[in-house]
């Protein structure tokens, strides 16, 4: 089934498979003439959409769960139970809104956790200053 759409789809999958988290030493916000439409689509894609990207075999592993990972999962479910978000909103925020670098760069529940923090701020239940103060206060408990 080779149509222009299918060709674009397959090219796109090859293209975005090459995007990896990177720490850039210099920023390079390009001028508009340096961005092709293909590149625009790659940059603005929904980063969770990885089906069909090329990759090499890895060792399949099991993993023990950290206490904070368990607590994060429960917090996210309970936030939905109490109507702070619905599951689709959670999936969008933690799998797409975070961007490619965080998506592939942080642990699975690391994304859940950052997203749970941000929803409190975005929906104005907590101000960002309050969140910062709270993080600082919790950190000091361990010093």
């Amino acid at each position: 089934m080779s149509t222009p759409t299918r060709q674009r789809v397959l090219q796109h999958l090859d293209h975005v498979g090459l995007l990896q988290p990177a720490i850039h030493k210099e920023t390079h916000a390009p001028s508009p003439d340096e961005i092709t439409n293909d590149q625009y689509r790659a940059y603005t894609r929904t980063v969770h959409d990885v089906g069909g990207e090329r990759d090499v075999p890895i060792t399949w592993e099991e993993k023990e769960e950290e206490i904070w990972e368990h607590n994060t999962f429960v917090t996210c479910e309970v936030l939905a139970w109490r109507g702070v978000w619905n599951a689709e909103e959670r999936r969008r925020r933690q799998n797409v809104d975070v961007g490619q670098t965080v998506y592939l760069g942080l642990p699975y529940y690391g994304r859940w956790l950052l997203t749970a923090a941000l929803i409190l701020v975005d929906k104005q239940y907590v101000t960002l200053s309050e969140l910062h103060e709270k993080i600082d206060e919790v950190r000091k408990r361990y010093e």
């Binding site: 894609r45 959409d49 069909g52 689709e88 797409v96």
Partner: protein, 122 residues
């Protein structure tokens, strides 16, 4: 948030004792497609969010089940639940999805769910 009379528990209240997607049953109207129909996945923009996988776009598939009614993910991801659609389970031939898929395994398939507004008759 910006909708008038926003009640953050509106979904909780609607789904309690019923379940989700059951709580949207009967809201999508008459389904446009039936089991056995051939459809093609539209190549809509996907900026910001979708759950219609890129690898399905422009490909044809067969409807194998009308699974439930629900707001599409693109709406529900911002808590918009007014427009409810039929969700279809579709069967793709792997050889239609992937040009390199071996002829030896021409019988292999893939099943996934796509909401009605992403489909057109094939």
């Amino acid at each position: 948030m910006s909708k008038p009379h926003y009640d953050r528990e509106h979904h909780v209240k609607k789904a309690t004792g019923i379940g989700d997607p059951q709580c949207f049953k009967g809201e999508a109207g008459t389904p446009k497609y039936q089991v056995g129909d051939k459809v093609r996945i539209r190549d809509l923009p996907d900026v910001f969010y979708t759950r219609t996988q890129t690898y399905t776009r422009g490909c044809t598939a067969t409807v194998v089940r009308l699974v439930y009614e629900t707001p599409p993910a693109e709406d529900e991801a911002w808590d918009n639940t007014e427009n409810v659609e039929w969700m279809y389970s579709l069967l793709f031939k792997q050889k239609d999805l992937w040009p390199e898929y071996a002829d030896t395994f021409a019988q292999d398939t893939l099943e996934t769910e796509i909401p009605e507004h992403w489909l057109e008759p094939a």
